[in-house]
Amino acid sequence: MSKPNLQLTDSQFIHGLRIGNSEVLTALYKKYYNLVLKLVVNNSGSSDAAQDIYQETIIVLFENVQKPQFELNCQLQTYIYSVAKRLWLKQLKKNGHVFLIKEDGEGEIADVTEDLSLHQQKEKDFEKVNQSLENLGEPCAALIKDFYVNKLSMDEIAEKFGYTNSDNAKNQKYKCLQRLKRYFFDNRLVEQSEIEK
């Protein structure tokens, strides 16, 4: 909490998020945390739960501002409060609570249904990637990530993973990718979660 808060307008925040400015992200995070903390803690949540809900809220905002047609129809504060409230209600329901959130005069609530459904779809996609990578295991998952995400060259990969040359690394990457494809496009993955732990 050392540096003073950046004073930004709503549209400056949105623009900063769009271009991935991390100072803006930090300033945004600091500005509305207490709002969401209060919401969650006043409604049967812990500060840890508030942190989770708040971070997911920021992610929802982040995902939606990436759409070129995104337009903020209300104050940013109202948007964040509305998203956080919906997310927290969902969490409460999932935990088996059935009661309403106490209103605390935060005022109007924005309609964020569409923004949340985009987020939900994304979460579903991520879960599929995550599951596939988990099934893939190591070092395959790391190798694939290094090639496609971190954009390491085959020579770098060969060195990092201890293959004798880049052709061997390439072969290994090929095998890993084929397996990943199988997992990713295989719908039976969903059924596997039926095992009760």
Binding site: K30, Y33, S44, D48
Partner: protein, 361 residues
């Protein structure tokens, strides 16, 4: 050149103009080629989006701990109005302490007459809140109630764990194996049994694919006299063989027996056995042993729809995974089991000190 390499070159704009034209015309003319390419680029972009989202999540966590990390933790213990009124608050604030300390506070608060019963309600409530701490769904929470019961009897020195399960020794050096789903995302993992006082362990390695975790007792004094009686049998056990397990679905160790029903588990997973032992929540992480007292697997879970059908991960795969992940630095006991030919009751007596109740906070 393999198709995937070609795809990557195209996506990374590494093809020269002529190659690019050839590639694009093939996309138009060759349907199968186009389909494979579309799948490829779908997967790669899903992968990149995923990685980007992970990065953002990590960044937000970092911002949080930098800006608010030293703030007091707040745990809402209540939604029941009467209880709230008696305490006068809906939240308890513990200055940035670990969850366990907060839970202990509640235990202390609960020694007086009226609050005892109420407190146990609250504790099960807390469990739900704690669920939010990303503990895996479907994990087991049996222990909570017993914790509360113990408080009522006034003998609890410890807070109830968020999750409980079983674990057992891998070797004489204090390494212990258990199920990953229980301890995933945990703050701290303790173990205990009738011969070992509750002790903190360190998570050494995890294998999400097999749902395995290896823990270690750091306290050398405690393991000085360890002599694990069972050994891990890598060979496959035959269908029909009598098998048994020991675990902690309750506070006391529970014995279960049955036979090996299949060499593969759910969805024909060949890393698992199917067994006809009714396993309960809390059995996860316990050893599966054959008649001679060889460890042939670790209890993984059961299927929702079938009673008395359990699954265990095979020793063969456990050892393979541990060797791989530890770079052969963790030795698994593979000397002869010293339990061969003994009566079952005697076997259990000897195994007992090396099977643990895991308590996860």
């Amino acid at each position: 050149m393999r198709n995937t390499d070609l795809f990557d070159s195209y996506l990374n704009e590494k093809l020269n103009a002529g190659e690019k034209v050839d590639f694009e015309s093939k996309l138009h003319s060759d349907e199968v080629f186009a389909k494979t390419f579309n799948e490829h680029s779908e997967l790669i972009s899903a992968l990149r989006n995923y990685a980007e989202a992970q990065k953002l999540k990590a960044e937000l966590k970092a911002i949080h701990s930098k800006e608010f990390g030293s703030d007091a933790k707040v745990i809402s213990i209540n939604k029941e109005e009467t209880f709230a009124k008696r305490y006068g608050k809906t939240v308890m604030i513990a200055a940035s302490t670990a969850l366990i300390a907060v839970l202990s506070t509640i235990a202390v608060l609960s020694t007086g007459g009226y609050f005892i019963k109420k407190a146990s309600d609250e504790i099960s409530d807390l469990k739900k809140e704690v669920d939010g701490l990303k503990s895996t769904q479907g994990a087991i929470v049996e222990g909570i109630k017993q914790g509360a019961e113990n408080i009522v009897k006034g003998k609890a020195a410890y807070a109830p764990a968020n999750f409980e399960g079983s674990a057992f020794a891998l070797n004489n050096l204090g390494y212990i194996v258990t199920s990953l789903h229980m301890i995933n995302g945990a703050d701290s993992v303790f173990i205990q049994n009738s011969t070992t006082e509750r002790v903190l362990t360190k998570v050494i390695l995890t294998d999400p694919k097999l749902d395995l975790a290896v823990l270690k007792i750091e306290d050398k004094e405690l393991i000085k006299k360890w002599l694990v009686p069972f050994s891990f049998n890598e060979k496959l056990t035959d269908v029909g063989e009598k098998v048994f397990t020991l675990g902690y679905p309750r506070k006391d160790m529970v014995y279960g027996e049955g036979s090996l029903s299949s060499l593969s588990g759910y969805n024909n997973d060949t890393t698992m056995y199917q067994i006809s032992i009714p396993v309960n929540p809390g059995n996860s992480g316990g050893p599966l042993l054959d008649e001679q007292g060889n460890v042939i697997g670790i209890i993984r879970g059961k299927i929702n729809s079938a009673e008395a059908t359990g699954f265990a991960i095979k020793s063969r795969d456990i050892i393979k995974s541990i060797n791989l992940l530890s770079g052969d630095s963790i030795q698994v006991t593979n000397k002869r089991s010293t339990l061969k030919g003994l009566k079952r009751t005697e076997q259990i007596k000897r195994i007992n000190p090396y099977v643990f109740n895991v308590l996860v906070y």
